[in-house]
């Protein structure tokens, strides 16, 4: 795993349980999210608990799928299929909420269009 530090790289670790449907769905959703909002600025590591249970135990991951944000906002965990992107974007500082809360702050790259899944 290499880290590109020059341009705020987003590093994710996704814990899945084998070929469980929700795990596969999470992988899809995460890939899609990254491609949409963080093109070329992300790294994803997928940990299959069925293959490597020790890592799950070490990190106390017990719900699958679980997404762990390694960088730049470490410590955040998002549980589920990641079908609802809004909360994820919020904690990644990419959500529209940031703008609403701090309208004067034009910080990061242009706020992405968020499609709310119904």
């Amino acid at each position: 795993m290499t880290r590109e530090t020059k341009l705020e790289a987003y590093v994710f670790r996704l814990y899945v349980a084998g070929n469980a449907p929700n795990s596969l769905q999470a992988i899809d959703n995460l890939t899609q999210l990254c491609d949409t909002h963080l093109p070329d600025r992300h790294e994803i590591e997928i940990v299959d608990i069925c293959v490597d249970p020790g890592r799950a135990l070490a990190e106390s991951i017990y719900m699958t799928p679980t997404l762990v944000v390694v960088s730049p906002y470490p410590g955040h965990r998002i549980v589920g299929t990641l079908s609802n992107t809004e909360p994820i974007l919020q904690i990644l500082g990419l959500g529209p909420a940031n703008e609403r809360e701090f309208p004067g702050l034009k910080d990061r790259n242009s706020a992405p269009q968020v499609r709310r899944p119904s």
Partner: protein, 581 residues
């Protein structure tokens, strides 16, 4: 007498013993092996402790390693809490016999879409294989289930868990917060779980008049008989303890004919030799009738025989008891010092009657007591414990019998209750083997202590009311005097006694006098008899002499006549008439 708490339960193919006093008896050997047990109860009802103890005992006593999945508390806290029960979890963890999985949902957990417990189970499966775990606990499953979006998802996870448990053939406990009567999601979950599991145990925690009462009930147990009643339990010093009445079939204590002294010689005599070893003795009486003193005497006598004794005092502080008993020359201090006697001031134990019982049992076991005094047992029925007190007293007696401990308990009768014997408040008088009743008799301006033996199974005993006298020299029991159908005590008894003594003395003196007189008369008669005999002898001699002299005279005179006849030459018949002067 049993020494260390021996675990009589052994692991069987169908049951996994919990090692928890009482629970194994109720379930006939433990939880269903390889199956799941649901442990439900309100918060603070002791679910976590029971579940943890199941694992600890499994690891320590039955070589069955276990995994604890903590959804609600951090393992660090659990381990720290467990230290207070003296379970050395750190050691078990090092030996890889116990593993804690911190499965708390992080407080900053963000949810996006559905999830399941598949990952956790996969990880647990690997861990279980690695450490050969046989037992597993999922503590507070409701916490994680609450994160699931709907009831269907919750049910799905419950079934997933169940399937996993069956697949791994692990004996599992799932704890769930549920009050049973409370509606809503939890009770729905509860229903699903109840149906799914093979065994369900409900813990109940209520407060009756400010006293906490804990109860445990086995609600279902597939494929096994079980004790269906709600049993009180306690979270004591060493963990869980469930109170069950003596189960039938358990080895009865040996019955002996050995007698132990009551500590008062004459009471022993009244009982035909003392209490039976292993008997339970009840001493009832109003306040101040020397119940404590009598039980203190028993304790002292037991210690003098070198038997380990425990004295539980609910009323006063141990030192006070020792001091007070010292005033009637019952010296207990020496035995406390050499360790024979353990004085327990139970005022320091607070809580339910159940708590008292368990503490008494634990302390008695620790002390290896052969004799036990509980003074007074009626404390058990204090406010808030009325319902349980009787059963507790019953179990105390049962237990002491089973252990072969001679139990003396006093019971305070209400001053307001009738002056007649009456039943003791706990109605344990029927259970006790020997019942001694102490009473006041108010008479002639005095209040004196009366003692009577109301019953004593299997021993001849005196039917008389005796007077109990406490003095510097100790306790004595005196005969009482009955006069005009009334028992005399105190001064009246003393007066009666002294009058009797006086009368006896007078009679004795009179007797002596009379006998002296008779002796004198006898001597006089003797003397007279002798004098008469002498006189008689003299007369007889005189008479003899007279007869002889008469004969001589006769002969002489006859000779004379013959001579005359000769001289005269007469031939006439000699004259027979003697010549008399």
């Amino acid at each position: 007498m049993k020494s260390a708490p021996v675990n009589l339960v052994t692991a069987t193919p169908t049951k996994a013993p919990t090692g928890i006093t009482g629970l194994d008896e109720m379930t006939g050997g433990g939880l269903p092996r390889g199956r799941t047990t649901l442990l439900a109860g309100g918060s603070g009802s002791g679910k976590t402790i029971l579940a943890l103890q199941f694992l600890v005992n499994g690891a320590q006593r039955f070589t069955e390693p276990g995994i604890f999945v903590a959804f609600e508390e951090t393992p660090t806290r659990l381990i720290a809490n467990a230290e207070t029960f003296g379970w050395n979890l750190a050691d078990l963890q090092r030996q890889n016999k116990l593993y804690f999985m911190d499965a708390q949902p992080p407080h900053d957990l963000i949810q996006s879409g559905t999830f399941d417990l598949g990952g956790m189970l996969a990880a647990l499966g690997a861990k279980a294989v690695e450490m050969k775990a046989v037992r597993i606990v999922f503590d507070a499953l409701d916490i994680v289930l609450a994160l699931l979006p709907d009831a269907a998802a919750q049910r799905r996870e419950i079934y997933r868990l169940h399937a996993w448990l069956l697949e791994h053939e692990m004996t599992g406990i799932i704890t769930l917060k549920a009050d049973g009567h409370q509606g809503g999601a939890t009770s729905q979950l509860f229903g699903v779980m109840q149906f799914m599991v093979d065994c369900a145990i409900i813990l109940n925690h209520t407060v009756v008049l400010g006293v906490s009462q804990r109860n445990l009930r086995v609600q279902k147990y597939r494929g096994s008989s079980f004790d269906e009643n709600e049993s009180p339990f306690l979270i004591g010093r060493s963990g869980f303890e469930v109170a069950v009445s003596r189960t039938l079939g358990r080895g009865q204590a040996e019955v002996t004919n050995e007698r132990v002294s009551s500590g008062v010689e004459r009471v022993d005599t009244m009982l035909g030799g003392g209490y039976y070893r292993g008997a339970s003795v009840l001493i009832t009486g109003f306040p101040g009738t020397a119940k404590t003193t009598l039980s203190g005497a028993f304790a002292e006598a037991a210690c003098e025989r070198g038997e380990r004794t425990m004295f539980v005092s609910f009323d006063s502080d141990s030192n006070e008891v020792i001091r007070n008993l010292g005033s009637v020359s019952i010296q207990l201090n020496r035995f406390v010092e050499d360790g024979t006697l353990n004085m327990v001031s139970a005022r320091t134990i607070t809580g339910s009657a159940e708590t008292y019982l368990v503490r008494i049992k634990t302390l008695a076991k620790e002390h290896q007591a052969r004799c036990l005094v509980v003074d007074p047992i009626s404390t058990l029925s204090k406010t808030g414990n009325e319902l349980t007190a009787h059963s507790v007293a019953e179990r105390l007696i049962d237990w002491s019998k089973a252990e072969g401990i001679t139990l003396v308990c006093t019971s305070l009768l209400d001053e307001m209750s009738s002056q007649s014997e009456g039943g003791s408040p706990l109605q344990i008088s029927t259970l006790a083997d020997t019942w001694i009743h102490l009473n006041y008799l108010v008479q002639a301006g005095e209040r004196n202590r009366g003692m009577s033996i109301i019953k004593s199974r299997g021993t001849a005993h005196s039917n008389q009311v005796r007077e109990l006298i406490l003095s510097d020299a100790g306790i004595t029991v005196t005969d009482t005097y009955s006069a005009g159908g009334e028992v005399l005590m105190g001064t009246m008894r003393w007066e009666k006694e002294s009058a009797e003594r006086h009368a006896n003395e007078v009679a004795a003196v009179a007797g002596k006098l009379r006998s002296a007189k008779l002796e004198a008369e006898e001597a006089e008669l003797d003397a007279r008899v002798k004098a008469l005999q002498v006189e008689l002898a003299a007369r007889q001699t005189e008479k003899e002499l007279l007869a002889r002299s008469a004969a001589i005279q006769e002969r002489e005179s006859s000779l004379g006549r013959d001579r005359v006849r000769e001289l005269r030459g007469t031939d006439d018949v000699p004259d027979t008439t003697s010549v008399k002067r």
